[in-house]
Symmetry: C2
Subunit: 244 residues, 2 copies
Protein backbone atom coordinates (compact mmCIF):
# COMPACT_ATOMS: atom_id res chain seq x y z
CA UNK A 1 0.00 0.00 0.00
CA UNK A 2 1.38 3.40 -1.01
CA UNK A 3 2.46 5.88 1.66
CA UNK A 4 -0.27 8.39 2.49
CA UNK A 5 0.72 11.95 3.42
CA UNK A 6 -1.94 14.19 5.00
CA UNK A 7 -0.98 17.82 4.54
CA UNK A 8 -1.89 21.40 3.91
CA UNK A 9 0.85 23.13 1.93
CA UNK A 10 0.15 26.33 3.84
CA UNK A 11 1.65 24.53 6.87
CA UNK A 12 5.43 24.79 6.95
CA UNK A 13 6.15 21.28 8.33
CA UNK A 14 3.73 19.86 5.72
CA UNK A 15 5.79 21.49 2.99
CA UNK A 16 9.01 20.00 4.40
CA UNK A 17 7.55 16.47 4.33
CA UNK A 18 6.17 16.78 0.78
CA UNK A 19 9.41 18.25 -0.61
CA UNK A 20 11.38 15.50 1.14
CA UNK A 21 9.26 12.74 -0.45
CA UNK A 22 9.50 14.30 -3.91
CA UNK A 23 13.25 14.94 -3.77
CA UNK A 24 13.89 11.38 -2.63
CA UNK A 25 11.61 9.68 -5.16
CA UNK A 26 9.28 8.30 -2.45
CA UNK A 27 5.93 7.38 -4.00
CA UNK A 28 3.03 8.80 -2.00
CA UNK A 29 -0.57 9.92 -2.13
CA UNK A 30 -0.99 13.48 -0.91
CA UNK A 31 -4.28 14.07 0.89
CA UNK A 32 -5.28 17.67 1.52
CA UNK A 33 -6.48 18.45 5.04
CA UNK A 34 -7.53 22.07 4.67
CA UNK A 35 -6.65 24.09 7.76
CA UNK A 36 -8.77 27.01 6.51
CA UNK A 37 -11.76 24.63 6.44
CA UNK A 38 -10.69 23.19 9.82
CA UNK A 39 -10.61 19.70 8.31
CA UNK A 40 -7.85 18.73 10.76
CA UNK A 41 -10.57 18.60 13.42
CA UNK A 42 -13.01 16.52 11.33
CA UNK A 43 -13.94 13.03 12.64
CA UNK A 44 -12.45 11.33 9.52
CA UNK A 45 -9.05 12.84 10.25
CA UNK A 46 -9.21 12.12 13.99
CA UNK A 47 -8.71 8.47 13.09
CA UNK A 48 -5.37 9.41 11.46
CA UNK A 49 -4.22 11.93 14.07
CA UNK A 50 -6.45 12.29 17.15
CA UNK A 51 -4.51 15.44 18.08
CA UNK A 52 -5.77 17.15 14.91
CA UNK A 53 -2.51 18.36 13.39
CA UNK A 54 -0.86 18.11 9.97
CA UNK A 55 1.35 16.71 8.60
CA UNK A 56 0.57 13.08 9.37
CA UNK A 57 1.38 9.90 7.46
CA UNK A 58 0.06 6.38 7.19
CA UNK A 59 2.58 3.76 6.07
CA UNK A 60 1.12 0.28 6.27
CA UNK A 61 0.01 -0.16 9.87
CA UNK A 62 1.94 2.87 11.12
CA UNK A 63 0.11 6.14 11.74
CA UNK A 64 2.53 8.92 12.56
CA UNK A 65 2.49 12.66 13.15
CA UNK A 66 5.03 15.36 14.11
CA UNK A 67 7.07 16.39 11.08
CA UNK A 68 10.52 15.72 12.57
CA UNK A 69 9.46 12.20 13.55
CA UNK A 70 8.05 11.71 10.04
CA UNK A 71 11.24 12.94 8.31
CA UNK A 72 13.39 10.65 10.49
CA UNK A 73 11.09 7.69 9.85
CA UNK A 74 11.04 8.22 6.07
CA UNK A 75 14.84 8.61 6.00
CA UNK A 76 15.19 5.30 7.83
CA UNK A 77 12.44 3.29 6.12
CA UNK A 78 12.98 4.21 2.45
CA UNK A 79 16.28 2.95 0.98
CA UNK A 80 16.18 5.56 -1.79
CA UNK A 81 17.00 8.32 0.72
CA UNK A 82 20.68 9.32 0.54
CA UNK A 83 22.67 9.15 3.79
CA UNK A 84 23.30 12.92 4.02
CA UNK A 85 19.61 13.57 4.85
CA UNK A 86 19.91 11.64 8.13
CA UNK A 87 23.42 10.21 8.48
CA UNK A 88 24.10 6.80 9.98
CA UNK A 89 27.14 8.27 11.72
CA UNK A 90 26.09 8.60 15.38
CA UNK A 91 27.75 11.96 16.03
CA UNK A 92 26.39 13.55 12.86
CA UNK A 93 22.94 12.16 13.61
CA UNK A 94 23.11 13.45 17.19
CA UNK A 95 23.89 16.96 15.97
CA UNK A 96 20.91 16.84 13.61
CA UNK A 97 18.66 15.83 16.52
CA UNK A 98 20.13 18.72 18.49
CA UNK A 99 19.24 21.27 15.76
CA UNK A 100 15.75 19.80 15.38
CA UNK A 101 15.15 20.01 19.15
CA UNK A 102 16.43 23.60 19.19
CA UNK A 103 14.05 24.41 16.32
CA UNK A 104 11.02 23.36 18.43
CA UNK A 105 11.63 25.85 21.20
CA UNK A 106 13.31 28.70 19.30
CA UNK A 107 12.92 29.21 15.56
CA UNK A 108 9.45 27.63 15.31
CA UNK A 109 7.66 29.63 18.05
CA UNK A 110 9.54 32.73 16.88
CA UNK A 111 8.66 32.49 13.18
CA UNK A 112 5.19 30.94 13.47
CA UNK A 113 4.25 33.16 16.42
CA UNK A 114 5.31 36.31 14.58
CA UNK A 115 3.57 35.50 11.28
CA UNK A 116 0.38 34.36 13.01
CA UNK A 117 0.08 37.33 15.33
CA UNK A 118 1.20 40.04 12.93
CA UNK A 119 -0.42 38.92 9.64
CA UNK A 120 -2.13 35.54 9.45
CA UNK A 121 -4.59 35.48 12.38
CA UNK A 122 -7.56 37.25 10.70
CA UNK A 123 -7.63 34.75 7.82
CA UNK A 124 -7.98 31.98 10.45
CA UNK A 125 -10.78 33.85 12.23
CA UNK A 126 -8.50 35.00 15.06
CA UNK A 127 -7.59 38.53 16.24
CA UNK A 128 -4.09 39.93 15.70
CA UNK A 129 -2.14 40.06 18.98
CA UNK A 130 0.54 42.81 18.87
CA UNK A 131 1.94 41.83 22.29
CA UNK A 132 2.42 38.19 21.23
CA UNK A 133 3.84 39.39 17.89
CA UNK A 134 6.38 41.56 19.69
CA UNK A 135 7.48 38.66 21.93
CA UNK A 136 7.75 36.33 18.91
CA UNK A 137 9.69 39.00 16.99
CA UNK A 138 12.36 39.00 19.72
CA UNK A 139 12.60 35.19 19.76
CA UNK A 140 12.75 35.06 15.95
CA UNK A 141 15.48 37.70 15.79
CA UNK A 142 17.50 35.86 18.45
CA UNK A 143 17.00 32.55 16.64
CA UNK A 144 18.12 34.01 13.31
CA UNK A 145 21.21 35.34 15.02
CA UNK A 146 21.94 31.89 16.52
CA UNK A 147 21.55 30.33 13.06
CA UNK A 148 23.89 32.92 11.55
CA UNK A 149 26.63 32.71 14.19
CA UNK A 150 26.39 29.13 15.48
CA UNK A 151 24.49 26.56 13.41
CA UNK A 152 25.82 27.90 10.08
CA UNK A 153 29.49 27.51 10.83
CA UNK A 154 32.34 28.57 8.58
CA UNK A 155 31.64 28.61 4.88
CA UNK A 156 29.66 25.40 4.56
CA UNK A 157 26.52 25.53 2.44
CA UNK A 158 24.31 23.84 5.02
CA UNK A 159 23.81 23.51 8.79
CA UNK A 160 26.48 21.91 11.01
CA UNK A 161 29.29 22.55 8.55
CA UNK A 162 27.86 20.20 5.96
CA UNK A 163 28.07 20.52 2.20
CA UNK A 164 24.92 18.50 1.65
CA UNK A 165 21.47 19.14 3.13
CA UNK A 166 19.94 17.15 5.99
CA UNK A 167 16.35 16.91 7.19
CA UNK A 168 17.22 19.76 9.58
CA UNK A 169 18.01 22.13 6.69
CA UNK A 170 14.73 21.31 5.00
CA UNK A 171 12.66 21.61 8.18
CA UNK A 172 14.15 24.91 9.28
CA UNK A 173 14.14 26.52 5.84
CA UNK A 174 10.47 25.58 5.34
CA UNK A 175 9.79 27.27 8.69
CA UNK A 176 11.42 30.45 7.46
CA UNK A 177 9.69 30.57 4.08
CA UNK A 178 6.45 31.50 5.86
CA UNK A 179 8.06 34.94 6.38
CA UNK A 180 7.06 35.47 2.72
CA UNK A 181 3.58 36.29 4.09
CA UNK A 182 4.92 39.40 5.85
CA UNK A 183 5.07 42.81 4.27
CA UNK A 184 8.23 42.80 2.14
CA UNK A 185 9.89 45.59 4.17
CA UNK A 186 9.26 43.69 7.38
CA UNK A 187 10.65 40.45 5.90
CA UNK A 188 13.78 42.30 4.77
CA UNK A 189 14.12 43.92 8.21
CA UNK A 190 14.17 40.46 9.81
CA UNK A 191 16.30 38.53 7.32
CA UNK A 192 18.75 41.00 5.75
CA UNK A 193 21.06 41.34 8.79
CA UNK A 194 21.69 37.58 8.45
CA UNK A 195 23.57 37.08 5.19
CA UNK A 196 24.52 33.46 5.84
CA UNK A 197 20.90 32.62 6.64
CA UNK A 198 19.75 34.20 3.38
CA UNK A 199 22.37 32.27 1.41
CA UNK A 200 21.51 29.02 3.22
CA UNK A 201 17.79 29.39 2.39
CA UNK A 202 18.77 29.79 -1.26
CA UNK A 203 21.19 26.82 -1.08
CA UNK A 204 18.45 24.60 0.36
CA UNK A 205 16.00 25.81 -2.28
CA UNK A 206 18.46 25.03 -5.07
CA UNK A 207 19.27 21.60 -3.63
CA UNK A 208 15.60 20.64 -3.67
CA UNK A 209 14.46 22.20 -6.95
CA UNK A 210 12.14 22.01 -8.83
CA UNK A 211 10.09 20.59 -5.95
CA UNK A 212 10.85 23.44 -3.54
CA UNK A 213 9.24 26.11 -5.72
CA UNK A 214 6.39 23.85 -6.82
CA UNK A 215 5.40 23.00 -3.23
CA UNK A 216 5.74 26.65 -2.16
CA UNK A 217 3.52 27.90 -4.99
CA UNK A 218 0.48 28.15 -2.70
CA UNK A 219 2.51 30.31 -0.30
CA UNK A 220 3.65 32.68 -3.05
CA UNK A 221 0.01 33.05 -4.15
CA UNK A 222 -1.00 33.82 -0.57
CA UNK A 223 1.82 36.38 -0.44
CA UNK A 224 0.36 38.15 -3.49
CA UNK A 225 -3.11 38.08 -1.91
CA UNK A 226 -1.78 39.64 1.29
CA UNK A 227 0.09 42.30 -0.71
CA UNK A 228 -3.12 43.23 -2.52
CA UNK A 229 -4.99 43.41 0.78
CA UNK A 230 -2.26 45.64 2.19
CA UNK A 231 -2.63 48.01 -0.77
CA UNK A 232 -6.35 48.11 -0.07
CA UNK A 233 -5.66 48.76 3.63
CA UNK A 234 -7.39 45.64 4.94
CA UNK A 235 -4.32 44.16 6.64
CA UNK A 236 -1.69 45.87 8.84
CA UNK A 237 0.64 48.27 7.03
CA UNK A 238 4.42 47.87 6.95
CA UNK A 239 6.05 49.07 10.12
CA UNK A 240 3.05 48.56 12.38
CA UNK A 241 5.37 46.36 14.39
CA UNK A 242 7.64 49.26 15.26
CA UNK A 243 4.75 51.25 16.75
CA UNK A 244 4.14 48.75 19.49
Amino acid sequence: MKLKVYTDRMSQPSRAVIIFCKVNGIQFDEILISLAKRQQLAPEFKDINPLGKVPAIVDGRLKLFESHAILIYLSSAFPSVADHWYPNDLSKRAKIHSVLDWHHTNLRPGAAGYVLNSVLAPSLGLPLDPQAASKADKLLTKSLSTLETFWLKGNAKFLLGSNQPSIADLSLVCELTQLQLLDEKDRVRLLSPHKKVEQWIENTRKATMPHFDEVHEILFKAKQRFEKQREMGTVPKPGFQSKM
Copy 2:
Protein backbone atom coordinates in the same frame (compact mmCIF):
# COMPACT_ATOMS: atom_id res chain seq x y z
CA MET B 1 38.02 9.37 28.14
CA LYS B 2 34.98 9.09 30.40
CA LEU B 3 31.70 10.69 29.35
CA LYS B 4 31.21 14.15 30.86
CA VAL B 5 27.70 15.29 31.78
CA TYR B 6 27.16 18.98 32.54
CA THR B 7 24.01 19.42 34.61
CA ASP B 8 22.07 21.13 37.32
CA ARG B 9 19.74 18.66 39.03
CA MET B 10 17.20 21.47 39.48
CA SER B 11 16.75 21.31 35.67
CA GLN B 12 14.27 18.63 34.64
CA PRO B 13 16.05 17.52 31.43
CA SER B 14 19.31 17.34 33.40
CA ARG B 15 17.66 14.93 35.84
CA ALA B 16 16.45 12.74 32.96
CA VAL B 17 19.97 12.44 31.53
CA ILE B 18 21.60 11.64 34.90
CA ILE B 19 18.98 9.03 35.83
CA PHE B 20 19.34 7.48 32.37
CA CYS B 21 23.12 7.12 32.74
CA LYS B 22 22.84 5.66 36.24
CA VAL B 23 20.06 3.18 35.37
CA ASN B 24 22.02 1.96 32.35
CA GLY B 25 25.38 1.64 34.06
CA ILE B 26 27.00 4.31 31.88
CA GLN B 27 30.15 5.60 33.56
CA PHE B 28 30.26 9.39 33.64
CA ASP B 29 31.62 12.44 35.42
CA GLU B 30 28.85 14.79 36.52
CA ILE B 31 29.85 18.44 36.39
CA LEU B 32 27.58 20.91 38.17
CA ILE B 33 26.69 24.02 36.18
CA SER B 34 24.72 26.00 38.75
CA LEU B 35 21.79 27.80 37.17
CA ALA B 36 21.25 29.82 40.36
CA LYS B 37 24.82 31.10 40.01
CA ARG B 38 24.28 31.59 36.24
CA GLN B 39 27.27 29.36 35.51
CA GLN B 40 25.62 28.27 32.24
CA LEU B 41 26.57 31.69 30.89
CA ALA B 42 30.20 31.58 32.11
CA PRO B 43 32.95 31.65 29.45
CA GLU B 44 34.25 28.20 30.52
CA PHE B 45 30.88 26.62 29.77
CA LYS B 46 30.42 28.50 26.49
CA ASP B 47 33.11 26.24 25.06
CA ILE B 48 30.87 23.23 25.87
CA ASN B 49 27.54 24.77 24.85
CA PRO B 50 27.72 28.24 23.29
CA LEU B 51 23.94 28.52 23.72
CA GLY B 52 24.34 28.40 27.50
CA LYS B 53 21.92 25.60 28.39
CA VAL B 54 22.13 22.41 30.47
CA PRO B 55 22.25 19.46 30.13
CA ALA B 56 25.20 19.09 27.77
CA ILE B 57 27.64 16.22 27.29
CA VAL B 58 31.12 15.70 25.99
CA ASP B 59 31.91 12.21 24.68
CA GLY B 60 35.32 12.05 23.06
CA ARG B 61 35.24 14.69 20.32
CA LEU B 62 31.47 15.10 20.43
CA LYS B 63 29.96 18.05 22.26
CA LEU B 64 26.18 17.76 22.42
CA PHE B 65 23.25 19.56 24.02
CA GLU B 66 19.42 19.22 23.98
CA SER B 67 18.33 16.44 26.33
CA HIS B 68 16.33 14.43 23.78
CA ALA B 69 19.29 14.40 21.39
CA ILE B 70 21.53 13.35 24.31
CA LEU B 71 19.21 10.49 25.39
CA ILE B 72 18.99 9.21 21.80
CA TYR B 73 22.77 9.43 21.37
CA LEU B 74 23.52 7.62 24.64
CA SER B 75 20.98 4.89 23.78
CA SER B 76 22.70 4.37 20.44
CA ALA B 77 26.33 4.72 21.50
CA PHE B 78 26.41 2.66 24.71
CA PRO B 79 25.80 -1.08 24.21
CA SER B 80 24.73 -1.52 27.86
CA VAL B 81 21.46 0.30 27.13
CA ALA B 82 18.55 -2.15 26.73
CA ASP B 83 16.53 -1.93 23.51
CA HIS B 84 13.29 -0.82 25.20
CA TRP B 85 14.75 2.61 26.00
CA TYR B 86 15.05 3.45 22.27
CA PRO B 87 13.92 0.47 20.18
CA ASN B 88 15.61 -0.54 16.96
CA ASP B 89 12.18 -1.29 15.48
CA LEU B 90 11.49 1.62 13.11
CA SER B 91 7.80 2.04 13.95
CA LYS B 92 8.35 1.94 17.72
CA ARG B 93 11.23 4.38 17.38
CA ALA B 94 9.12 6.69 15.20
CA LYS B 95 6.39 6.79 17.86
CA ILE B 96 8.96 7.69 20.52
CA HIS B 97 10.22 10.56 18.35
CA SER B 98 6.60 11.66 17.95
CA VAL B 99 6.03 11.81 21.74
CA LEU B 100 9.34 13.63 22.26
CA ASP B 101 8.43 16.22 19.60
CA TRP B 102 4.98 16.67 21.14
CA HIS B 103 6.65 17.19 24.53
CA HIS B 104 8.63 20.18 23.20
CA THR B 105 5.59 22.19 22.21
CA ASN B 106 3.01 21.01 24.76
CA LEU B 107 3.97 19.45 28.08
CA ARG B 108 7.28 21.30 28.44
CA PRO B 109 6.08 24.88 27.90
CA GLY B 110 2.97 24.04 29.98
CA ALA B 111 4.77 22.59 33.01
CA ALA B 112 7.92 24.73 32.94
CA GLY B 113 5.96 27.90 32.13
CA TYR B 114 3.53 27.31 34.98
CA VAL B 115 6.15 26.49 37.62
CA LEU B 116 8.39 29.38 36.58
CA ASN B 117 5.68 32.00 36.47
CA SER B 118 3.70 30.91 39.51
CA VAL B 119 6.47 29.87 41.96
CA LEU B 120 10.06 29.75 40.78
CA ALA B 121 10.73 33.14 39.16
CA PRO B 122 11.68 35.12 42.32
CA SER B 123 14.43 32.64 43.22
CA LEU B 124 15.92 33.27 39.76
CA GLY B 125 15.68 37.05 40.22
CA LEU B 126 12.63 37.34 37.93
CA PRO B 127 9.13 38.67 38.66
CA LEU B 128 6.13 36.30 38.83
CA ASP B 129 3.91 36.69 35.76
CA PRO B 130 0.28 35.71 36.54
CA GLN B 131 -0.83 36.14 32.91
CA ALA B 132 1.91 33.82 31.62
CA ALA B 133 1.14 31.39 34.48
CA SER B 134 -2.53 31.31 33.50
CA LYS B 135 -1.67 30.61 29.85
CA ALA B 136 0.77 27.86 30.86
CA ASP B 137 -1.82 26.39 33.26
CA LYS B 138 -4.21 25.90 30.32
CA LEU B 139 -1.52 24.28 28.15
CA LEU B 140 -0.40 22.04 31.03
CA THR B 141 -3.96 20.93 31.78
CA LYS B 142 -4.58 20.18 28.10
CA SER B 143 -1.28 18.28 27.87
CA LEU B 144 -2.06 16.19 30.96
CA SER B 145 -5.41 15.33 29.43
CA THR B 146 -3.72 14.29 26.14
CA LEU B 147 -1.30 12.11 28.14
CA GLU B 148 -4.20 10.51 30.03
CA THR B 149 -6.44 9.85 27.04
CA PHE B 150 -4.01 9.36 24.15
CA TRP B 151 -0.38 8.65 24.93
CA LEU B 152 -1.17 6.35 27.89
CA LYS B 153 -3.29 3.88 25.98
CA GLY B 154 -5.14 0.94 27.50
CA ASN B 155 -3.68 -0.56 30.65
CA ALA B 156 0.00 -0.48 29.72
CA LYS B 157 2.43 0.75 32.38
CA PHE B 158 4.26 3.17 30.08
CA LEU B 159 3.69 5.46 27.09
CA LEU B 160 2.61 4.07 23.70
CA GLY B 161 1.16 0.88 25.14
CA SER B 162 4.55 -0.36 26.32
CA ASN B 163 5.29 -2.45 29.38
CA GLN B 164 8.85 -1.19 29.62
CA PRO B 165 9.99 2.43 29.84
CA SER B 166 11.55 4.37 26.96
CA ILE B 167 13.53 7.61 26.93
CA ALA B 168 10.18 9.36 26.36
CA ASP B 169 8.78 8.10 29.70
CA LEU B 170 11.86 9.31 31.53
CA SER B 171 11.96 12.70 29.81
CA LEU B 172 8.27 13.47 30.30
CA VAL B 173 8.10 12.21 33.89
CA CYS B 174 11.14 14.31 34.85
CA GLU B 175 9.31 17.29 33.34
CA LEU B 176 6.32 16.63 35.57
CA THR B 177 8.25 16.12 38.80
CA GLN B 178 8.98 19.86 38.84
CA LEU B 179 5.31 20.26 39.86
CA GLN B 180 6.57 19.22 43.32
CA LEU B 181 7.65 22.85 43.71
CA LEU B 182 4.02 24.02 43.63
CA ASP B 183 1.86 24.36 46.68
CA GLU B 184 0.59 20.83 47.43
CA LYS B 185 -3.07 21.78 46.87
CA ASP B 186 -2.22 23.27 43.50
CA ARG B 187 -0.21 20.19 42.48
CA VAL B 188 -3.14 17.95 43.46
CA ARG B 189 -5.55 20.20 41.52
CA LEU B 190 -3.47 19.71 38.37
CA LEU B 191 -2.59 16.02 38.65
CA SER B 192 -5.43 14.29 40.52
CA PRO B 193 -7.96 14.36 37.63
CA HIS B 194 -5.45 12.26 35.67
CA LYS B 195 -5.24 8.89 37.40
CA LYS B 196 -3.31 7.14 34.63
CA VAL B 197 -0.75 9.96 34.61
CA GLU B 198 -0.27 9.64 38.38
CA GLN B 199 0.18 5.86 38.09
CA TRP B 200 2.59 6.25 35.16
CA ILE B 201 4.77 8.70 37.10
CA GLU B 202 4.96 6.13 39.89
CA ASN B 203 5.67 3.30 37.41
CA THR B 204 8.54 5.27 35.88
CA ARG B 205 9.88 6.13 39.32
CA LYS B 206 9.83 2.48 40.39
CA ALA B 207 11.47 1.33 37.13
CA THR B 208 14.40 3.68 37.71
CA MET B 209 14.89 3.33 41.47
CA PRO B 210 16.95 3.97 43.53
CA HIS B 211 18.40 6.51 41.10
CA PHE B 212 15.12 8.35 40.54
CA ASP B 213 14.74 9.39 44.18
CA GLU B 214 18.44 10.04 44.64
CA VAL B 215 18.61 12.41 41.64
CA HIS B 216 15.37 14.14 42.70
CA GLU B 217 16.61 14.74 46.27
CA ILE B 218 17.55 18.34 45.50
CA LEU B 219 14.03 18.97 44.20
CA PHE B 220 12.40 17.54 47.32
CA LYS B 221 14.62 19.78 49.45
CA ALA B 222 13.60 22.79 47.35
CA LYS B 223 9.96 21.75 47.83
CA GLN B 224 10.42 21.85 51.62
CA ARG B 225 12.08 25.27 51.34
CA PHE B 226 9.17 26.62 49.30
CA GLU B 227 6.67 25.16 51.78
CA LYS B 228 8.44 26.92 54.63
CA GLN B 229 8.45 30.18 52.69
CA ARG B 230 4.73 29.76 52.01
CA GLU B 231 4.07 29.34 55.73
CA MET B 232 6.03 32.54 56.32
CA GLY B 233 4.03 34.28 53.58
CA THR B 234 7.01 35.09 51.36
CA VAL B 235 5.75 33.17 48.31
CA PRO B 236 2.26 33.05 46.73
CA LYS B 237 -0.40 31.25 48.80
CA PRO B 238 -2.35 28.22 47.57
CA GLY B 239 -5.18 29.16 45.25
CA PHE B 240 -3.67 32.44 44.05
CA GLN B 241 -4.04 30.95 40.59
CA SER B 242 -7.83 30.89 40.82
CA LYS B 243 -7.97 34.61 41.54
CA MET B 244 -6.53 35.57 38.18
